[in-house]
């Protein structure tokens, strides 16, 4: 069960610059470590993060093994209209976690 914490302002003025913060629970296993028995632990990281605002992709990031567990990503955008801001994280196993937040633009 994966959990994410999203920080999107509930309300903003049209044209205002807003900051968006997203953190997800993930081990971000680098693939460089070995277990107690000496065998390699398979790499499992989130390799891509995307954010959609009202259906359009506004931010995307590729992630690499040096990024810590529970990656935290903050970025800014311009509030244009009310709608859903959707987030998607995809990991090496092909799992995609999604969550959305609503913003009201006045």
């Amino acid at each position: 069960m994966t959990r994410a914490l999203i920080n999107v302002p509930k309300q903003a003025r049209a044209g205002e610059i807003i900051e968006i913060k997203a953190m997800i629970a993930h081990v971000m296993e680098t693939g460089y470590r070995r277990d107690a028995g000496g065998s390699a632990i398979e790499r499992n990281i989130i390799n891509r993060f995307t954010c959609f605002y009202d259906g359009a992709e506004i931010f995307a990031a590729e992630l690499f093994p040096a990024i810590s567990a529970n990656p935290f990503i903050a970025f800014s955008t311009i509030a244009t209209k009310s709608g859903a801001i959707a987030f998607a994280w995809t990991d090496d196993k092909g799992n995609t976690e999604t969550t959305t937040a609503e913003i009201k633009v006045v």
């Binding site: 913060k21 953190m23 971000m28 810590s68």
Partner: protein, 255 residues
Amino acid sequence: MGWRLPLLAAAALLLSGGFLQADEKKSGFDFMAPETQAMQEDDLSNPGMLSIAEGEALWQARDNPHRAACAQCHGEARQSMRGAAMRYPQIDKRSGQLIDLQGRINLCRQEKQSAPPFAFESPALLALTAYVAHQSRGQVIAPSQDAKLDRHRQNGQALFERRLGQLGLSCAACHDAFPGQRLGGSIIPQAHPTAYPLYRLEWQALGSLQRRLRNCMIGMRAEPFPYGAQELIELEAYLMSRAKGLKIETPGVRP
């Protein structure tokens, strides 16, 4: 006679340690960089909050129809678990054993839910312990007056002051004698367990006070006590009484 002065100063420091007044006591939080403090303060950037959400789900979870969920007996954790973190470690009335909060959760699982105990440092045990302790956040630590705890606290204090390991260090040799100074690159805090289970950036995960204590013992090049050992819980009991007057911060963030 030049050597005497620093020696006397060191002796004075050693004597003054352990008897800090309430206003001299500082949480590990106060020794952190402003960036790390900000991370802990904001619930949407504190990675420990991911485990709190997980713990809340576990509190409500009824994965087995024959098993009651925590919430079915205890109700809303917000009310029933407020202040619980400060009552531990305590004596379990049935067995007479000294137990800490995670020990209580595992006992409850075995006795009331007929479920296997969670493994030490498993994400589930840490999440549930953090969720329960989180309900006391902001409350001032007021250790129990139970006289039966005195013996355990004394044992804990003796262990705190006992020199162990190849380096001949005790907990007190750093945390009572030189708090605020540096060991290597790290600031030595006063060793108050106000924020456990906490998210340590070095661990990239939540960890218990026992994990922290074992880490310190490994650093002292001593053989660490195993998880769940009576010695570790007695040390926890002493540290909680020593932290009297400070506020619970769970889930804390530490470097």
